[in-house]
């Protein structure tokens, strides 16, 4: 019974995630950027823009300049999350891809550093007066949700040792619209429900920073206004 509920919930959450994200990205894509506003000094070529964006997305370059505490905790969290996500691919692939298997031991410990990063960010949010001032309840809840996901995951890995083989059977079936039984494990239920919640709120929350950064005109535009005329369709109308 719980398996069916969680299975259906995951279909629902995945649908919200995919449809919501496609809708948002499509909106960003179609909204024109009428003026060139890269924060300068900015790359003058498209290749330069790709490099700038890569540094931003992989190393959080701007945040590094801004605040080392936030950067170190934020980067630790995101890098760990990436490893953890890679590790989780093993529950959705049979046979497990080689590079996923390779990442497995790192992914296990990345769960710990992920939790560490999240706690660091939350402590900052609670203790630094300025950050507390700008925080909304949802900012705190988002961290609580992620901490819950990380902690329950770690608990299953290191303490309660969830029956991962059955979990994998469940997800392999789930992907083919065939809901098979999940182990009766409350930590697992909590973990999965939290992940479903995260997926569902992704496209309607600040988690949109993930696709948003790629569409940020101050970061994704080349600095070449004198060399090439840039004009948005609605602005070109004014010339007619």
């Amino acid at each position: 019974m719980a398996s069916i509920l969680i299975g259906i919930l995951f279909y629902f959450a995945t649908l919200m995630f995919v449809v919501g994200l496609v809708y948002r990205i499509n909106t960003y894509w179609r909204t024109p950027a009428p003026l060139l506003i890269p924060t300068t000094p900015a790359p003058t070529t498209q290749t330069g823009v790709v490099l700038r964006m890569t540094r931003e997305v992989v190393f959080f370059e701007s945040l590094f300049k801004a605040n080392l505490w936030t950067w170190s905790m934020g980067w630790l969290f995101h890098a760990s999350l990436a490893l953890v996500l890679v590790r989780h691919l093993r529950y959705f692939t049979e046979p497990v891809w080689e590079w996923v298997a390779l990442a497995q031991p790192f992914g296990m410990y990345a769960g710990l550093t992920m939790l560490l990063g999240l706690c660091g960010l939350w402590i900052r949010r609670l203790l630094v007066e300025r950050i507390r001032y700008i925080s909304t309840p949802s900012d705190h809840l988002m961290l609580v949700l992620l901490i819950g996901i990380a902690a329950s995951g770690l608990l299953m890995s290191f303490v309660t040792h969830a029956d991962v083989i059955t979990v994998k059977t469940f997800f392999l079936g789930w992907m083919q619209l065939d809901i098979r039984p999940l182990p009766a494990d409350f930590v697992l239920y909590f973990h999965l429900l939290s992940v479903a919640a995260l997926l569902a709120i992704f496209p309607i929350s600040k988690l949109l920073h993930a696709p948003g950064v790629f569409f940020s005109p101050s970061r994704n535009q080349a600095d070449n206004p004198r060399e090439k005329r840039h004009i948005a369709p609605w602005a070109a109308e004014l010339e007619k």
């Binding site: 936030t70 925080s135 900012d139 948003g212 060399e227």
Partner: protein, 509 residues
């Protein structure tokens, strides 16, 4: 005007404690009916302001990707929270960039996002009430659109874009700011921001020719409205009569004279500044910029050079090609832009900054200097925000930092840098940019200058600096006004071309 005191320097420049509400009461004068209506805005706050404001916001969200993405992407990480000079100087938490954006983001969430419609408290969403609108008016007129926060934001969120959108919404419901809107009216009616009519301008230029003749014995011309001149100089109108601006104008004229360049000013486009950017109104931005296109076509000039003005250079460098076709690389089919681009000489950058022009001439060996003439000065350079973070000079990223410094070093012997966290792309705004250079905001202007004054004091103490060069008319006006309040001599501020003017050897060309 009430006596304004400078805030004390911070002993250690740490992040200040919050003083909620510190600047709540501060708001610039509201524009009158006459001022608003002259530039096409409702005269007074309209009755249905709420619905109109929300509709305008929706329109802007669909026209500007920047606004749309910036409203969604912020995670409240706080990277920007200690980066604004107005926050540092006032300690008002609503002057933190993120909090300033949130004044609008909270409304965006309420009317344009699902969680904000369903659970406003949870996500910090608010109805657009009259109190919120007043708060917008107050705090979006405490942002100088300097973009320092956008340097540090992991998503590049630029509060300037949010401020511009907010001011555009306020203008659309008849709640505009007097200073900016009055100036925009003047630029259309008279030709420049200062309201200097053509005959007065001619008089001033003739007087300048006499002054330079008296000082140097050489006939340096200040030509105006000359058809067929090679270079059209577009410069901020403050250069025509304000101190110390005028000394840089003399510098430009001497450079043109010494290099034998045929040049002209224009009485119709006697203003480089474009306050259309400050109020975020594309139509005004475009209309003001189009004056330069018209004059360029009418006079048949081959090159456009822009004088020392920060936001004007951002508009010229980044936006003129878009707004008026003044630049290069328009499509063959783009008749509007081609009309002008065919006339211009593309061996040169179009438009070109006066510093690019002068540095180019120095590199070619076309200018010579008596650097000792500047020996009385120990010079530092204040990067102006719009030049630093919204434009470029030369052929490489960061040329806007190197070229003015190169010129200073070519014309003077004593140059020192201020602290690197406050120069180049991390420079602090002077405190008077973005349409805030008005006496009704003097308290804010003095406080906003604090971080710059602190590091200036450092180089004054350590190196005996007695001259801060800058290439922005607003910086010059702001510093001249507020530096005495911090105990500095107002004559410490001047233009880069003022230094050029001191040292240039004119010969008999």
């Amino acid at each position: 005007m009430a006596e304004v005191a400078a805030p004390p320097y911070r002993l250690i420049p740490i992040i200040p404690a919050l003083k909620p509400g510190a600047m709540e009461g501060l708001r610039p004068f509201v524009a009158s009916d006459k001022i608003n209506e002259a530039i096409g805005f409702p005269g007074q706050l309209v009755d249905d302001w709420h619905d109109r404001a929300i509709a305008k916001m929706g329109e802007l969200l669909s026209k500007y990707r920047s606004l749309k993405v910036y409203m969604d992407a912020c995670v409240h990480c706080g990277a920007c929270s200690d980066k604004c000079h107005y926050f540092i100087g006032t300690q008002d938490p609503k002057n933190m960039p993120v909090a300033r954006q949130d004044l609008m983001r909270s409304v965006y969430r309420r009317y344009f996002t699902l969680p904000g419609k369903l659970f406003p408290k949870l996500v910090g969403a608010r109805d657009l009430t009259r109190e919120v609108l007043d708060e917008w008016y107050s705090y979006f007129n405490q942002c100088s659109e300097c973009r320092r926060c956008s340097v540090f934001c992991p998503y590049g969120i630029d509060t300037a874009e949010v401020t511009m959108a907010a001011r555009e919404i306020l203008d659309s419901v008849g709640y505009g700011q007097k200073y900016s809107n009055e100036i925009i009216g003047k630029v259309h009616r008279i030709g420049n921001n200062l309201g200097l009519p053509g005959p007065a301008l001619l008089d001033t230029l003739e007087g300048l020719e006499e002054d330079v003749k008296d000082a140097t014995g050489i006939d340096v011309r200040f030509p105006i409205d000359v058809k067929g001149a090679e270079v059209l100089l577009i410069t901020p109108s403050a250069d025509f009569f304000a101190e110390p601006h005028i000394d840089s104008l003399i510098g430009y004229a001497k450079v043109f004279h010494a290099t034998g360049t045929s040049w002209t000013l224009s009485s119709m486009a006697s203003e480089a500044g474009n306050f259309g950017m400050f109020i975020g109104n594309y139509e005004q931005l475009r209309k003001i910029a189009l004056r330069i296109r018209e004059v360029a076509l009418e006079l048949g000039v081959k090159r456009i050079v822009v004088g020392e003005c920060g936001h004007a250079w951002r508009v010229a460098y980044s936006f003129w090609n878009t707004l008026t076709g003044l630049g290069d690389g328009a499509d063959e089919t783009d008749r509007f832009a081609q009309m002008l681009q065919k006339q211009l000489d593309h061996r040169y950058k179009q438009p070109m900054h006066i510093c690019e022009f002068t540095w180019d001439m120095i590199e070619r060996g076309a200018l010579s200097f008596n650097r000792e003439a500047n020996d009385k000065h120990i010079i530092t350079f204040h990067d102006s925000c719009n030049v630093a973070r919204g434009s470029r000079m030369g052929d490489f990223a960061g040329g806007q930092f190197e070229i003015p410094r190169n010129i200073i070093k070519a014309v003077a012997n004593n140059f020192v840098e201020m602290s690197p966290e406050t120069t180049r792309e991390q420079t602090f705004c002077c405190g008077g940019g973005g349409g805030l250079l008005t006496d009704d905001l003097i308290d804010l202007r003095v406080k906003g200058a604090l971080p710059r004054m602190e590091v200036l004091q450092q180089v004054v103490d350590e190196h005996g600096v007695n001259f801060m060069a800058t290439i922005c008319a607003i910086c010059k006006a702001q510093f001249t006004k507020i530096m005495p309040i911090y105990g500095f001599d107002r004559r410490m501020v001047g233009g880069v071309h003022q230094l050029v003017s001191n040292a240039i050897i004119l010969g008999d060309k």
